[in-house]
């Protein structure tokens, strides 16, 4: 039995319900009026709660959660300041928030006056047969309500009767509370780190590139406030990934724009990204803190304490630098300038392939990159230089980006399954690279001279232990590359690449 969720414009009272009772329905209704007070609607920046059919409100030291999938309403007292689900103590609300990404903070969607009314439908014995909860939100002079039924096991008929009853009252069925987000001022344009891009099959290379760049530039810009506010580390991550994708379009869509212009723009985006390199590196380190502690003997933990305390301090300074940079006039004029450049095709000088068909161009690029990946990977054995493995990683990443960029041109299921098959190899190569980068980072710290005396010896010992473990893990990943590639190099996947992207012949 699925709950029935709905929106309504005016309060649903017992009196109103009694007046609109459908004929033949044998039940009594009772609506308990709740208190009214100010509350903050919370969600992650990418609206994980809304998309999973949940509504979370904080009223003072109480959390309210309405689950539109189960129809249940739960509340929980909170005693401390919190940002992440992991900050909350165990309780019914925490339990329902278990699906939220550990990396995402819950931030305010908007502040509203809110009232919760609870309704019950009772039989002649006074037994509850179905429940419903109505939340009425008020902002200024306007108000709107969202409600949800809570079916009870064994009472399907009563639930159907209530649904009919509510519809007779004029409620509008709504599967998720998007309208409410709009009402509190979030707007219709919900954030998504990987938005669906629409490209026409006749779109040229230049137009396709511009649409993709406009989209990801938009994604990057939407993360700026979050980077400044430092609500969680995903804002910076998404910001950087989006800029990296823009830069990739510029370098992969060869001839899409004039050569000189492409080089200039690539440099511009590289410079933009460089400003946040250190902050992201520090974030990655700090996010993995607990893993590092698990990797090394407890005798070296005191050294790690000093090391991470230092990293946290550096991160604070680094974040201040980034805030100053992103809030500055120079950044604003640069990024606005770039947005303007990509707003109209005529703003950019065309290249040799500008007018070519985007789909065919994309097919060729993907296929060429796939062949390149296969060629390099097939040469890799246990003795191959690590540099070649790094090259393979970069080509795999480019292949993945190309497939993602051109997804709109192909059947979504087919391309998604190909991306998925590449992912396992990419994850393997990604970890191989991460371990390598982390060792280098630790080496930089050691040679920085910051830890040369006193507690420095302790830190050096910890870094030594950690580097040895990271090296071991890197070798482990290195040994998995051949196996993972062999899985990706199957005849089925090769056929799939040919079928989707080969507009000329067959690739090997």
């Amino acid at each position: 039995m699925k709950p029935f969720s709905y929106s309504f414009s005016s309060t649903i009272s017992s009196k109103k319900m009694k007046q609109k009772k459908p004929s033949g329905v044998p039940y009594m209704v009772n609506v308990d009026k709740g208190e009214e007070g100010e509350g903050v609607l919370l969600d992650t920046f990418d609206n994980e709660l809304l998309l999973s059919g949940k509504l979370l409100l904080q009223r003072g030291n109480m959390l309210w959660l309405q689950n539109f999938n189960s129809g249940t309403f739960v509340d929980q007292q909170i005693d401390t300041d919190w940002s992440y689900v992991s900050d909350l103590e165990q309780g019914p609300v925490t339990l329902q928030l278990g699906m939220i990404s550990k990396l995402r903070a819950l931030i305010s969607v908007g502040t509203v006056a809110v009232k919760k009314d609870s309704g019950t439908i009772l039989d002649d014995e006074g037994k509850t047969r179905v429940r419903f909860n109505n939340l009425v939100f008020t902002k200024g002079k306007k108000s709107m309500g969202v409600g949800c039924t809570q079916p009870l096991r064994g009472y399907g008929k009563a639930h159907e009767d209530l649904k009919e009853w509510l519809l007779k009252l004029g409620v509008d069925p709504c599967p998720i509370a998007t309208d409410l987000y709009t009402f509190v001022g979030l707007g219709d344009d919900l954030y998504c780190a990987k938005p669906v891009i629409t490209l026409s099959s006749t779109a040229t290379v230049k137009i396709s590139a511009m649409i993709i760049i406009q989209t990801f530039l938009g994604v990057a810009r939407r993360n700026e406030d979050g980077v400044i506010g430092d609500y969680d580390t995903e804002f910076l991550h998404d910001y950087r990934v989006s800029l990296r994708k823009v830069r990739s379009v510029l370098s992969l869509f060869k001839g899409g724009f004039a050569g000189d212009e492409t080089s200039r723009l690539k440099n511009e985006f590289s410079e933009l990204m460089q400003q946040t390199n250190t902050l992201r590196d520090l974030d990655v380190y700090l996010l993995d803190q607990s893993t590092y502690y698990k990797l090394v003997p407890t005798t070296t933990h005191a050294g790690l304490d000093v090391l991470f305390a230092g990293l946290k301090k550096t991160r604070k300074t680094e974040h201040k630098k980034v805030v100053k940079y992103i809030s500055g006039k120079n950044y604003a004029s640069r990024i606005e300038g770039l947005e303007k450049v990509f707003s109209k095709p005529s703003n950019l000088e065309s290249g040799a392939n500008s007018d070519a068909n985007g789909r065919i161009f994309g097919c060729n690029l993907i296929l060429k990159r796939y062949v390149k990946v296969s060629k390099i990977a097939r040469l890799i054995d246990k003795d191959t230089d690590d540099e070649v493995v790094h090259q393979l990683r970069i080509h795999c990443k480019k292949l993945r980006y190309l497939m993602e960029f051109f997804t709109p041109f192909f059947p979504a299921a087919d391309i998604k399954s190909l991306i998925k098959s590449l992912k396992q190899l990419q994850d393997n190569l990604g970890r191989f690279n991460d371990y390598s980068v982390q060792q280098l980072f630790l080496k930089t710290i050691l040679t920085s001279g910051n830890y040369s005396s006193g507690k420095g010896l302790m830190v050096a010992e910890s870094i030594g232990a950690l580097t040895a473990m990271l090296f071991r893990l890197q070798r482990k990943e290195r040994n998995l590359v051949m196996k993972n590639f062999a899985r990706f190099d199957s005849s089925e996947i090769r056929d799939c690449f040919n079928e989707l992207f080969n507009v000329e012949g067959t690739c090997q």
Binding site: E125, G126, K127, R153, G154
Partner: protein, 249 residues
């Protein structure tokens, strides 16, 4: 999933009050709980205001899993569902005797809801029959309310004897004293003697209480409307003991 039966081969000892309050205590402790009213008198269902479905009357109840799961009704309390008594229970023994492998029928039915519940309570009718033998086999613990009087003690002895003769696990039996009137010397003496004789007797006991008698008026567990009463705290204590002995996590 753990199965706790509430059983006595003597009537009027407080089996249903025990089942209803223990099931409520289990649900309130966050465990998904199902109370099966196996007594045709349907008192558990009455206390929770749950009527048996008319559609289900006359259907062979444990014959197929579907009719068993269809009969489950949510109570008014979170985490607590109920299988109301069904008239066909009267014929349940006849039904079981006709079936092959009849002793595993109850188990099969209960297994079908294994993932839905953490604890299942069985409120049993006061007799020794094929149904109760099913209950003895399938249950993890059998909670036996005993009024500390001569007749009740005799029925407990009979139950232990039946278990011994049929090679059932006697350690499953968890007796506790019910409807205790501490002003009566007979009650006090019997309790002392029985605790000496049977080591499994639970530490807590439930007093004879008007709060419990009022369950019929409130039609709800005493723990829900008189949570601070001594009867309520006694049921709470007994539930904790049972949960520990049955290793209910």
């Amino acid at each position: 999933m753990k199965i706790i039966a509430c059983y006595s081969n003597k009537g009027g000892v407080g089996k249903t009050a025990t089942s209803v309050n223990l099931a409520y205590a289990s649900a309130m402790s966050g465990r998904r709980t199902l109370l099966c009213d196996l007594d045709p008198q349907g008192a558990s269902g009455f206390y929770f205001r749950v009527k048996p479905s008319k559609k289900l009357e006359g259907r062979a109840f444990f014959k197929d899993v579907e009719s068993f799961t269809d009969s489950i009704r949510a109570s008014d309390f979170e985490n607590l569902d109920l299988v109301p008594a069904n008239l066909t229970y009267r014929d349940f023994d006849i039904f079981l005797s006709r079936m092959k492998n009849n002793r595993s029928r109850l188990k099969k039915a209960l297994k079908s809801v294994n993932s839905d519940y953490d604890v299942i309570f069985l409120d049993c009718p006061p007799n020794i029959s094929l149904l109760s033998e099913n209950v003895f086999k399938v249950s993890d613990k059998i909670v036996v309310p005993v009024i500390p009087t001569t007749l009740s003690v005799r029925t407990l002895e009979q139950l232990y004897g039946f278990f011994r003769n049929n090679a059932y696990q006697r350690k499953k039996i968890l007796p506790f004293f019910s409807m205790v009137q501490k002003s009566k010397n007979l009650h006090k003496d019997t309790m002392v003697a029985l605790r000496k004789q049977y080591k499994n007797v639970l530490g807590g006991s439930v007093p004879f209480s008007t709060d419990i008698e009022k369950m019929g008026i409130h039609r709800a567990p005493v723990l829900s409307y008189a949570a601070k009463s001594s009867a309520a705290s006694c049921y709470g204590k007994i539930w904790k003991d049972i949960a520990a002995k049955a290793k209910i996590v």
